[in-house]
């Protein structure tokens, strides 16, 4: 086994690698390096990654078996070393199977098939008809989006309700619903909000979610009247034609929302001068925006403290936003909102948007 006997105890694994083998293996390693560089230039699509890993593993095996002597050494050492890669594989595989199969995060890339968010694939063909599935979906959405104002039992007694005028709708009562109490009419309220109140539009929620909310909210009181075909047509559902024709409000990509969330705290703005509501934009602002953004756009605690998730929303001064400089960004944020953060005012037309932007610009200028 050994070519040279050491003076004392000579048994054991004292294999001396011959120079020929050492140089041969070394040469093979150099060749394989050239191979891997060359093959990286050949477009094999998905295979490129696998081939690169394969060549690297062959090289690694050569180093381990010959240079590190595992081919000639006692078996245990090879088993010990190999086990480390086994544990590494467990580490990688378990992490990946968790991460790439989470259904609640929208991710880009080839694994999207596994990680589709609910919003991308509507599962219910006719959401305007109440089903137990839709009701439970609505209940979950309600507990996230609505309970702060409308209360846990829908009585309009949520933690944020006290300061609101008019008060949030009590769903257990049949009277007083501004748009009516049919599912399509509740759906309309969810699309447009109730102008002149704190009920914001929820255009950013997918249509299926809005139907689910409508059905759930109606289930809190007595049974509603059924929708006729004309009612459904008013909200863009053509029952005879078999489909939904209402335009979906596009939501902003997750990355953009995350980026906005991670922006550093802006410095406190100088106190904005109170600007009277002389303009149409100013009136719009005071009616729809001031309760969260502050009368002079200085930021405020949006009155949503004490929700189930203990979320506290504090708006930054408007001067910290990039939106004011760009009409396109401003209109996008105001119309579509920011998912999970700010409701969108989908019902504003172009004139109203530019008036609002003009007013906000004045507020921001006063803050500088």
């Amino acid at each position: 086994m050994e070519t040279q006997k050491p003076a004392q105890e000579s048994h054991g694994h004292h294999h001396i690698l011959s120079t020929e083998v050492a140089l041969g293996v070394g040469f093979a390693l150099l060749l394989l390096t050239g191979l891997t560089v060359w093959i990286a230039g050949v477009d094999l699509g998905r295979l490129n990654f696998l081939v690169a890993l394969l060549v690297a593993s062959v090289k690694a095996a050569l180093v381990a078996l010959f240079f590190m002597n595992l081919l000639y050494d006692r078996r245990e050492n090879g088993v010990i070393f190999g086990t480390s890669f086994l544990f590494l594989a467990i580490f990688l595989v378990l992490t990946a199977t968790d991460l790439f199969f989470r259904g609640d995060v929208a991710v880009k890339g080839p694994l999207t098939a596994f990680a589709q968010s609910k919003t991308a694939q509507p599962k219910v063909a006719r959401p305007w008809v109440a089903t137990p599935l839709l009701l439970s979906q609505g209940k979950m959405l309600y507990s996230q989006q609505c309970v702060a104002c409308h209360g846990p039992e829908g009585k309009g007694d949520g933690p944020a309700a006290g300061s609101l005028t008019p008060a949030p709708r009590d769903f257990t009562r049949a009277g007083g619903w501004k748009n009516g109490r049919k599912p399509s009419q509740v759906f309309k309220t969810l699309v447009e909000g109730i102008p002149g109140s704190a009920m914001a539009p929820y255009g950013t929620l997918p249509a299926e979610d809005r139907w689910a909310l409508a059905h759930f909210v109606l289930s809190l009181g007595e049974a509603p009247e059924a929708d006729t075909d004309e009612d459904l047509l008013k909200v863009g559902i053509d029952v005879k034609g078999g489909g939904q024709v209402v335009q979906e409000a596009p939501s902003i990509p997750l990355e953009v929302a995350m980026r906005r969330l991670t922006r550093p705290e802006p410095r406190a703005a100088k106190v904005g001068a109170k600007i009277e509501a002389e303009s149409a934009g100013g009136r719009l602002y005071l009616a729809r925006c001031a309760s969260c953004h502050g009368e002079a756009g200085e930021g405020a605690i949006a009155r949503v403290s004490g929700t189930l998730d203990a979320v506290r929303l504090r708006t930054a001064p408007l001067s910290a936003s990039q939106a004011v400089g760009s009409p396109a960004i401003f209109e996008s944020i105001v119309s579509n909102g920011l998912p999970g953060l700010m409701p969108g005012l989908a019902s504003l037309n172009g004139t109203q948007l530019s008036e609002l932007r003009e007013h906000v610009r004045k507020l921001v200028a006063a803050q500088q």
Partner: protein, 211 residues
């Protein structure tokens, strides 16, 4: 012509001591696999999440420098093996020569690395919050360079430690402390050095070639 090495008294024989030391070295290398492995898993996860970004970002790495460093490290592994076998055969002068060559090749690796990093700093391709490059527009790009700098940086630290160990071996070999009867430190530092090469064998294609 070696100084007689006396094995520690709690071992029955010099051979037992040698086998125990070797196995201890393998156990240490297992911990190294898992340490670098953690970074490779992070690489794998983020690559799975942002494959397009990785593809764009990896184009900004210098493949020729990475390939050169791969060749340099492989050569240094060859010279390291030859240093070990020379010691096993009692050829002290050759052992010293090969140790010196290994050391110099490691130095080459560092020099190439220096130019690589300097170029990155110049281009603003920096990790995480320091990323200021204007050409690479993907908002997640800093993530790639965080991984790049941590993985190659940790590897570089290992190269530096290895160079220190090789220098230590050089001194002891020159003083005649090793030979066929006793070459354990030479072999084990050799294992460490081959492991450093092994990590680079995986780092190079994953970062530079396939992004």
């Amino acid at each position: 012509m070696t100084t007689t090495h006396h094995h520690a008294h709690h071992f029955a024989s010099a051979n037992d001591e040698f086998e125990a030391a070797k196995q201890g070295m393998w156990v240490f290398l297992v911990t190294e696999v898992l340490m670098f492995g953690g970074l490779f898993v992070a690489y794998g996860i983020f690559r799975g999440l942002y494959p397009d970004m990785f593809h764009e970002a990896h184009k900004f790495l210098a493949v020729n420098m990475g390939a050169t460093n791969t060749l340099v490290l492989i050569l240094s592994s060859i010279t390291m093996v030859l240093a070990v076998t020379a010691t096993q055969r009692g050829r002290r002068d050759r052992a010293v020569l090969f140790l010196v060559l290994t050391f110099l090749l490691a130095g080459c690796f560092l020099v190439v690395k220096y130019f690589e990093y300097a170029h990155k700093f110049h281009e603003g391709l920096l990790p995480g919050g320091y990323f200021v490059n204007q050409e690479l527009k993907d908002p997640k790009a800093p993530l790639f360079f965080s991984l790049y700098f941590v993985m190659t940086g940790l590897h570089m630290v290992h190269v530096l430690v290895g160079m220190g160990l090789i220098a230590w071996l050089f001194r002891r070999t020159a003083r005649g402390e090793f030979g066929p009867q006793y070459y354990t430190p030479v072999e084990l530092v050799g294992f460490y050095w081959h492991f450093v090469d092994l990590v680079w064998i995986y780092l190079f294609p994953l970062l530079y070639l396939v992004g």
